[in-house]
Symmetry: C2
Subunit: 418 residues, 2 copies
């Protein structure tokens, strides 16, 4: 039976946590709060390089989260960083955008099948929110249909109705359906009123937290497109989590369905803050009419980073390589689980894997396994999909699998087989 290797002190992380509790609500907020994970997770990281990150106490981890998406070509990628630095040395945040904005819009319009234009912002929520505003301005309607359990950012319209600080009115124009359930979309249309549906928003595949990932049913995608066409409603793809990592052409390009609008962010610029709303020509006028701006939305350095990221991704068949590494990881995990006589479900596109345990209603096994992974130097999430990048080569995946094997031992010791 393997045990966790000897680890250096965690005094610096613990000291920072203590200071944070005094000046940051709950010590940390949002998706980077690790306080509910197993004890072996750090709360503060100091360094990233390639497929690895180091915490403030110097512990090394192979990183399977890629910052929840932004890191696509590995941390601290020299070419991307050099491109951003060269632009920043001239000017990043100025009274006007730089030429990089036009170049990046041209590249995205060329690469993403449905796109005729692009607008840029900073975070995923900026552009999921903006996609809804543009759809409403274009259709002069109010209602937005989204899948129950999908995450479309922190706009109140997209949060569960019980979310603290949101109002009844915030949720009045959101109607829920079930992902991959076309009948439920039709029911939502009737609920919303056929002539008041501004948009239907979908993620490329189902990647809700806490549950297995699920590919889109091509018939569902085509059906949603048909419903939108019948109603004159806009189809929005929320490609914030998947875009560029799974398919640079857009979320439903592989199933032959084009949206009217798509929201991108995370991996566009390999860690530099950037988001993009892409749309078709008929929506350009509405996009120009809405109030949409931000102090840092036009920054040139992240756009330079995006131009280099996209070029390198294409030149090196980055998507194909991430896919191959992801398949190696997914198959390796399935084999390990079987060898340990434990039932797991490994789901998701290979570039965004997730492993959950079969009989684990309270996620106790997930927490234990992920904690053991952290103790052995693999950083992944217990219940949220992981993210691979092109820095995860075969050797790195094999190293991950050595470490996860030890983590299965820990879970079996504690919970037994099954």
């Amino acid at each position: 039976v393997s045990t966790a290797p000897v680890r250096p002190s965690r005094a610096i992380d613990q000291g920072l946590r203590e200071r944070a509790r005094r000046v940051i609500p709950n010590g940390m907020y949002g998706h980077l709060n690790t306080s509910r994970f197993a004890d072996d997770y750090p709360q503060f990281l100091a360094r990233g390089e390639g497929a690895r990150v180091w915490d403030v106490d110097g512990r090394e981890f192979i990183d399977l989260m890629c910052t929840f998406g932004p890191i696509l070509l590995g941390h601290a990628h020299p070419e991307v960083d050099a491109a951003a630095a060269a632009t920043a040395a001239r000017g990043d945040v100025l009274n006007c955008p730089g030429p990089e904005m036009v170049e990046l819009a041209e590249v995205l319009v060329q690469e993403v099948e449905h796109a005729d234009w692009a607008m840029f912002a900073k975070n995923g929520s900026d552009v999921t929110n903006l996609s809804v505003v543009v759809a409403r301005a274009h259709t002069r309607r109010r209602k937005v249909l989204m899948a129950r359990g999908s995450y479309h950012g922190i706009g109140a319209w997209a949060l569960p109705p019980e979310s603290p600080g949101t109002t009844i009115e915030d949720h009045a124009n959101t109607v829920f359906f079930g992902y991959n359930d076309l009948d439920s979309v039709e029911a939502a249309v009737l609920d919303a009123g056929e002539d008041d549906v501004a948009a239907v928003v979908c993620t490329p595949h189902r990647h809700d937290v806490f549950i297995d990932q699920e590919p889109v049913d091509p018939a569902f995608a085509r059906g949603v497109r048909e419903i939108c066409d019948r109603l004159g409603a806009m189809l929005i793809i929320d490609d914030v989590r998947c875009g560029a990592r799974i398919d640079l052409r857009g979320g439903w390009a592989a199933v032959g369905v084009k949206p009217d609008l798509s929201a991108w962010s995370k991996s566009l610029a390999n860690g530099y803050p950037l988001a993009g709303l892409l749309g078709t020509a008929p929506l350009g006028e509405a996009a120009a009419a809405v109030t949409a701006t931000g102090s840092f939305w036009y920054a040139a350095a992240p756009m330079a980073a995006a131009l280099t990221t996209i070029r390198l991704l294409k030149e090196g068949d980055g998507i194909g390589r991430m896919r191959a590494s992801g398949i190696r990881l997914q198959e390796g995990l399935r084999a390990q689980a079987q060898a340990h006589d434990m039932a797991v479900r490994v789901t998701g596109p290979p570039q965004m894997p997730l492993m959950l345990f079969a009989d684990d209603p309270e996620f106790a096994r997930s927490l234990a396994w992920s904690g053991a992974c952290a103790a052995h130097g693999v950083y992944l999430h217990p219940v949220h999909n992981w993210f691979l990048g092109t820095a995860h080569d075969e050797a790195t995946i094999d190293e991950v699998l050595e470490r996860t094997d030890a983590a299965f031992d820990v879970v079996r010791e504690r919970f037994g087989t099954g």
Copy 2:
């Protein structure tokens, strides 16, 4: 009579504008769209250094906009950039925040009078929106009172009801009052319902676009605080535009009024994308309970930049120096206008001046004057307040005034005196 100096070609800017029109809605969106300004404005800038910016054709401008606020210590400040680069070389956007987040929260809690805690995001809208959500979560009420004409970002609640793509429900919980008009606040309270007022949001002074700036009436500030205390509503200061540039202690510190929440962004990190929500201890629990996160919110490099920016601002009496330069500019402009026999109003705190012409209902004089300034190499805004930074020393202000003198000539030629 002076005329505009000979200027280099504008072919590159024009070429970029033409390309932009094909791939960006309306060729440009938001507050950096210069298409409605005089012809001498560029749409694309390439470089910034100190108090100057250069467009893509190499034209130089003394910059009185500071990127609409973010640039506080001058463009491309070597010490700030070195601090950000040192952190970024280790790790900027990782699975966890870096230690800089704790340090920055500690500094802000120390410097900003009312603050017991801090959360960080990217843009001003992130934190004005978040301030309202936290106030609602804490009070379990819905209504937000704001001054008519104030800008609190692009959240639909804060936009004019007629804003395209927003719904009746988006505006249902916003009630307007008049800035510096306490009676109108009381009327808004009655309109909202005394027991449903979650928050009153105010800018530190009135800095609406198109009109003269106006300092806050101390009696108004105290009165708003008293109303909030009476109702159990939260007072929110939107310090996005003023914070750190006017007063590092917070927007109404000078009049002795402490808010419950304040929203900061723009100048916190001298151009690096960062926003902060600061709050008092009783609101910490609500702040921890709301859904608030973003892929790039925890980036360490902008926080390192903020730590250096705040240190340099304090060490060098940056606020005092900006104020002195601003007074020199404001007095110089008033003297020039008088010498040209033209009636103008120069308003605002010296660090954020604005000059409007007295009899100029369609802003034709403002457009002509600002255009002539651009032609003579001064970049300022026709109808939105300007921003000074510590890079605007006496010599730079004197150079600005030489150039604006020529701009007054142009306006007098075209519109006459008066």
